[in-house]
């Protein structure tokens, strides 16, 4: 077996040396690795205890992040990686709202001091419906956040219980109303294909979400990972995974309801009212640059990808010593071409033939593999159909098989 990527990770200096200048928007992702409790399906890098390692706890975390920002900035200067103002900032987790609004605000201020934030930039955070109150939401708005994304997951009490979520539908409803009152753009995440979920339960959840007048909706299929509570239940036969055709059906239901209510898909798992797409999210698929801060956060600069150490102790030890807490890889031409294909093909704006030809060579547009029913070429881009969204990885592999090695 020979996979092209078995090289050991590189240190920040080696990465900096290899940086190839490229003009792309710059974004900032801030990871908040705290939760009040862990949900049954969660395999994210998050922790429920308030103190994660010596010197790393909820109180000290903002200052550690600021220290990391400083180290990154120095690295940029040393290696000629341009430091631009952020076009968007995204606080994800974990549960960012486990921290006080004043703490979140100070982190955001540190980002602004370090890189600057463009005027009118999108500044999002993720939140659990039961960790926000109207005063919190107003404080966040005042601190400069423009957008909030709630982990609603379902409006059905039975399903919330199966998903091991603590909030009630009523709490989610109050959170959404509060956010809108505070003047925040508002998004909801939903999870489909929960074990034993009935089709009409899923339909009700989507309808309810669509009826609230939210700006943005994300729908994710439940993935059950082995080393989670649900993974262990699956192994013991206590729950059953929904089949791929049941998942596909759920996806089609969501797409049909949401599009009738004025939402259009713009990425495989994301729908938005016109102009309300999450630009930060789009940046991941468009190949923008971004710095990820906090344990386990990923970053991308032109031909470099790197990732912060996941283990909190290793991460904080490195930050406290003034070092950069990450390692990464250099993308060669082949990797860049692969990424251009599988990232671009997830978007409604599609994989532009121009970009494809830049990646794999001239004439690619004229020798596409058969796309039968999976994608069509529109306005100079390859755009997936509904079926092509559901079989997106297959579509990406077919394109890669055609153009790469």
């Amino acid at each position: 077996m020979s996979f092209s990527n078995t090289r050991p990770p590189l240190d920040p200096d080696a990465l900096g040396e290899a940086y190839l200048p490229s003009d792309r928007p710059f974004r900032v992702y801030v990871h908040i690795p705290f939760c009040l409790r862990r949900c049954g399906y969660c395999n994210f890098n998050t922790f429920t205890s308030s103190s994660l390692a010596p010197g790393l706890n909820r109180e000290s975390y903002p200052s550690l992040l600021e220290k990391e920002m400083g180290a990154v900035k120095r690295w940029q200067e040393e290696h000629g990686v341009p430091a631009k103002a952020a076009s968007s900032v995204f606080f994800g987790g974990g549960t960012p709202t486990v921290l006080r609004p004043s703490q979140l605000s100070s982190i955001l201020e540190a980002v602004a001091r370090t890189w600057g934030v463009e005027g009118g930039a999108e500044v999002s955070l993720e939140a659990n419906p039961d960790t926000v109150s109207p005063p919190t939401l107003s404080s966040l708005k005042r601190a400069g956040f423009t957008r909030i994304s709630f982990g609603v997951q379902s409006w059905e009490p039975r399903i919330l219980k199966i998903l091991d979520r603590t909030h009630s539908p009523a709490a989610a409803w109050r959170a959404v109303r509060g956010a809108r009152k505070a003047g925040l753009e508002c998004s909801a995440d939903l999870i489909y294909a929960a074990p034993s979920e009935k089709r009409r339960e899923w339909e009700r959840s989507v309808r309810k979400t669509a009826s609230l007048g939210l700006d943005h909706v994300s729908c994710y299929a439940l993935s059950i990972y082995p080393r989670t509570k649900m993974g262990r239940m699956l192994a013991k036969g206590e729950i059953r995974e929904e089949s791929d055709s049941a998942q596909a059906k759920d996806y089609e239901i969501a797409d049909s309801i949401l599009s009738r209510r004025g939402y259009a898909w713009y990425e495989v798992s994301n729908w938005a009212k016109p102009g309300k797409e999450c630009l930060h999210n789009l940046g991941y698929w468009r190949g923008d640059d971004w710095i990820g801060l906090g344990p386990g956060a990923h970053s991308h600069f032109s031909n470099l990808r790197f990732w912060d150490f996941s283990r909190p102790g290793r991460w904080s030890g490195s930050v406290l010593s003034g070092a950069l807490p990450w390692e990464g890889e250099i993308l060669g031409e082949k990797e860049e071409a692969e990424e251009a294909i599988f990232l671009g093909i997830r978007l409604r704006e599609g994989l532009s033939l121009k970009k494809l030809e830049e990646a794999v060579g001239k004439g690619a547009g004229a020798s596409l593999p058969p796309l039968a029913g999976l994608a069509s070429v529109r306005g100079g881009s390859i755009v997936p159909t509904l079926r092509g969204r559901l079989l997106n990885d297959f579509l990406a592999r077919s394109l890669m098989d055609r153009f790469l090695d």
């Binding site: 992702y29 994710y220 299929a221 059906k249 692969e338 297959f394 592999r397 890669m400």
Partner: protein, 592 residues
């Protein structure tokens, strides 16, 4: 037993001794069986004289009869070893008949007499009956404890005649075995029948015509020991340094320039293949290596035959002929172990003779050659089987033989509770799983031996397997008309389980000509997408896609269906699929 003789004669010291010394192949030691005959010379003193005894340890399984017959042709006498706890086995009889045909001195010996389960008196009586000898002529030994082995060696000196060749006649030596050694080239094992060979002699292989001076001449005792000459009656080896494997044909006669013979020795009858299967390398670039490996292995195992073949599903390979199923398994295992190949084999089949309506004839060794139309008659090979079983299992054995289209030829008692049943059966019925079924229905007691017995007309059809409408040639099988449905049903079900779902629906059909006899459907994969990349982990997604693409490259394409190698390997394995649905469908089919 061979181990014990090696240690008692001092050929091996205790330190050098290990179990199954002569079974030098890993496979033999792991399976506890002998596959290859091994020749070794030991010294034994009797009276004031020292005798050189050359012994060949032979395999017991029916598949390796050919090895036994070759070994017996190079000998003056044989020790007929019977396990006193098991009694006479089917292969005891067939090996006995071979020894009689070769006019050998036969020394009947009961082994394992020290074990509590030994039925020494009963087995001795049966042996006396069979051989027409008195009870005092049957020796009793325990190879484990060494009891009686010295007496046996003395008896060998007494009863086995000295080699009958003429030391003064022109040199003639029989090549009875050869093997390929990566460092030394071909090692040829010979028995000098007349005259002698000296180390400096130029030797000539009479059939191939090649002429060479040996690099080394020697005996095996059991270490390879160079000697200055091999004289009449001696068994030894010659190394000539040649690496071209076609130069060393087993059965050829070696003579030498100094004392040239005009007539070669009788040699051997080429063995007949009983079972055929396609063998293909998993990696297509290993095809040349497979060819070289087969050439080399054939030196050591003259009973393999092979011709190149192409399969749409499996690529380039060889259609190989074997002596039986065990032989086939051993050959494949040896190719993989000794030559570092990764192989896939088709289901084994026998060969058929097809008479066409226009009077022409087709020999079929591969199901794809089986004509679909204008067939007048099909002839299949048959064997005569001897099955020896304790009498309480006679009913079960008879039922099993009937299920496999057997016709009873006779039945006789060997002693009070052992029965020998003789059947005529299609070879194709006995080569797959029959032996295992026989063992399981008789609690392991029955033994089986068989010999080819011509051919008979039969009602046979070819069952094809179509995947998404495309014929998968490697899965076609020739079956008796009554078993075609069962094959089709089981194979389509197996494949449904083994072929991963793809983006479209895949019908899997079994067909006889244009007629579909069984069908399964693999439903299309509807969702194949990762919902998100957590925390922007694009690297992980890229690696996952790369891995999936690597995996697909290794798959075989039947039309546009990608099938993993493992699916073919499992589909072609002889493992039987058995579930409730299959049993019910077969029952319903039988009623029709």
């Amino acid at each position: 037993m061979a181990d014990r003789i090696l240690s008692i004669t001092g050929a091996l010291s205790d330190r050098q001794m290990r179990d199954q010394y002569l079974d030098s192949m890993d496979i033999e030691r792991e399976r506890g069986i002998t596959i290859k005959s091994q020749a070794v010379t030991v010294n034994w003193e009797k009276g004031a004289k020292t005798y050189a005894l050359s012994m060949i340890d032979t395999p017991g399984h029916v598949d390796f009869n050919y090895e036994v017959s070759r070994a017996l042709a190079a000998c003056e006498g044989c020790v007929l070893l019977v396990d006193a706890t098991q009694g006479i086995e089917a292969q005891t009889l067939s090996n006995l008949y071979l020894a009689l045909q070769n006019d050998l001195a036969i020394i009947p010996v009961l082994n394992k007499i020290d074990l509590p389960g030994a039925k020494t008196d009963e087995v001795r009586a049966t042996l006396c009956d069979l051989l027409g000898v008195g009870p005092e002529e049957v020796m009793e030994v325990s190879a484990k404890t060494g009891l009686g082995v010295r007496e046996l060696l003395d008896a060998i000196v007494e009863k086995v005649p000295a080699p009958s060749g003429d030391p003064e006649a022109p040199t003639r030596a029989l090549i009875f075995d050869s093997q390929y050694d990566a460092y030394r080239g071909i090692i040829t094992y010979i028995r000098v029948v007349d005259g002698r060979i000296e180390a400096k002699d130029r030797i000539i292989q009479m059939k191939s015509g090649s002429s060479l001076v040996p690099l080394e001449l020697g005996i095996v005792d059991p270490f390879m020991r160079p000697v200055e000459q091999l004289t009449t009656g001696q068994v030894g080896y010659v190394i000539t340094g040649i690496k071209d494997v076609r130069q060393a044909q087993v059965g050829d006669t070696i003579t030498c320039e100094r004392s040239l013979a005009s007539e070669p020795l009788k040699g051997y009858k080429a063995p007949e293949s009983m079972v055929y299967a396609g063998i293909f390398p998993l990696e297509t670039d290993q095809f040349p290596l497979l060819r070289q490996s087969l050439d080399k292995l054939r030196l050591n195992d003259a009973s393999i035959s092979y011709t190149p073949e192409t399969s749409s599903a499996l690529g380039f390979g060889f259609r190989c002929g074997f002596l039986g199923l065990l032989h086939m398994q051993i050959v494949i295992e040896r190719l993989e172990r000794e030559f570092g190949l990764d192989l896939i084999s088709t289901a084994p089949n026998v060969h058929y003779r097809v008479e066409m309506a226009d009077g022409s004839e087709v020999t079929v060794t591969n199901p794809t050659q089986f004509p679909e139309n204008k067939v007048k008659a099909v002839w299949e090979p048959v064997i005569e089987a001897s099955i020896i079983t304790p009498k309480e299992f006679v009913g079960d054995v008879m039922k099993l033989c009937q299920e496999h289209r057997g016709k009873m030829l006779g039945m006789e008692y060997l002693g009070p509770d052992r029965v020998c049943l003789r059947y005529k059966m299609p070879t194709g019925e006995i080569i797959f799983g029959f032996f295992d079924q026989l063992k399981s229905r008789t609690k392991g007691y029955a033994t089986l031996d068989y010999a080819p017995a011509g051919e008979e007309k039969a009602d046979l059809v070819r069952v094809d397997i179509l995947i998404h409408g495309e014929l998968s040639d490697a899965l076609s099988a020739i079956c008796h008309k009554d078993k075609a449905y069962e094959y089709g049903l089981k194979m389509t079900k197996k494949l449904k389980k083994l072929i991963p779902r793809q983006q479209f629906e895949i019908p899997i059909q079994a067909a006889i000509g244009q007629r579909i006899i069984a069908r399964e459907t693999i439903s299309p994969l509807r969702k194949d997408v990762l919902a998100k990349c957590y925390g922007g982990d694009i690297t992980r997604k890229r690696k996952l896609l790369e891995k999936q693409r690597e995996g697909k490259k290794k798959m075989k394409m039947i039309g546009n269906v990608a099938i993993p190698q493992e699916a073919f390997i499992s589909a072609l394995s002889l493992e039987e699929l058995d579930d409730k649905d299959i049993r019910e469908k077969l029952k319903a089919h039988a009623k029709k």
